[in-house]
Subunit: 238 residues, 2 copies
Amino acid sequence: MSEQSIPRYRILAKQLKNDILSGRLKPGDQLHTELELCEIHDISRHTAREALRLLSEDGLIARRRGAGTIVAEINAPAFAQPIGDFESILKYARDAHFELDTNRPATSKEIADIGLKGSYYRYDGLRRQAASPPLALTVIFALAKLAPDAATVKALDTSISEWIERTHSVVVNKVTQRMEAVALRNTEAKKLKVEKGSPALATTRTYHDASGRVILYSHSLHPAGRFVYEFQLDRTRS
Amino acid sequence: MSEQSIPRYRILAKQLKNDILSGRLKPGDQLHTELELCEIHDISRHTAREALRLLSEDGLIARRRGAGTIVAEINAPAFAQPIGDFESILKYARDAHFELDTNRPATSKEIADIGLKGSYYRYDGLRRQAASPPLALTVIFALAKLAPDAATVKALDTSISEWIERTHSVVVNKVTQRMEAVALRNTEAKKLKVEKGSPALATTRTYHDASGRVILYSHSLHPAGRFVYEFQLDRTRS
DNA sequence: ACAGAGAATATGTCCGGACAAATGACCTCC
DNA sequence: GGAGGTCATTTGTCCGGACATATTCTCTGT
């Protein structure tokens, strides 16, 4: 295959992408309809649709039946989480407000799936900062005997772990954290208002008390572009 | 739209996905060809292809012209990087061998793009561990006056930062690190042997000496499923 | 001026077809 | 046994068409 034999749908996708990235097409602008693209470029509707599908996949455009295709808003990372010490985990939980959606006792399968034992309460919700798009889709498991009720969670302006420490005779003395890149599944993507399959940073934190018991567990999905971790390690402090 | 009117291509995609996730179809198994799916399910080739495209997008199958469609290997994370202190950054660079691909002086635009000033040498390559699929696509910028040549880099069994400390009168005394989820671009995905648009963990590290000068900068893309960061914060050490 | 109905528009889904390009199996020859 | 060529197979690309569905616009009645 010579380098000239680039598929036509890719050529068109690239042209449109250049128009978007160069600013010639701005967020909110309407793109040509599929039929217009066919006429303008002398291609079939299939080829036009395939080109648009690539742009959609890249998050550059949004398409709706009956409404047309528009250039998507480009989300700059709104939230950089400094994290290299204990305090900043707590700070994150304060700054990124947890908007509770549902809560219920966790099933034994759910508990087993996250490698825990015992009874836990489960909270599902979104982390937000003001009216911005959601920063994260978060699920939290709290040890049942320490777990706050829904009204308490909704009223909290600190993290659940701080509340537990304050209201029970326990101290979080170790947090383990795990981060990896994942692709968002359909329902996750919908809740976060991004395209399904979008990349996200998955963060899992396990909070232990002094006896090693897991009193809290959280799992968050931060879509790409909305969240970065930043931290600094100084040799003098290692 | 009733819940019965799920598109046929999605119904087929779901059936095939169930076959894969249940183990009825195992990694390496050949799937039915497009024409076979048409006959078996009484659907058009377009519908069959659209179903397969969804599975491909999810990373469940791999398709090759002339060869057919197979169930993809599911990549468990092969490398969990403990990181919460200075030593483990160094350890990562040792364990995840940097396989140099190209090196050259960095252009002034490249240097400006990463927020640095001065002259730097640029190294492009893959991080690997034994014969596993690449862990990361990495680009490194070293301050030109301290930069090792290609032969040195290829022979190194430590990190470039340790080599610089050992062979020049400098000490790395601060590393800043930034992590976020990104979607891999086409060329990046090809080098990492994953599907384009796949999620990846993007890690950027900036190494400073005592005077605040940036002596090394690295940017790595770890595809989803191949790499997780794990670390632990103890209250007693904060 | 506003609400509702209907029509037009635009994308989503599905069909069938044809040709190109990459792969792998098979066969022949050395 | 291995190399090379050929052919069949399979996916990739592109075409055209039709109908369904969601959205938007326009017109009419109150």
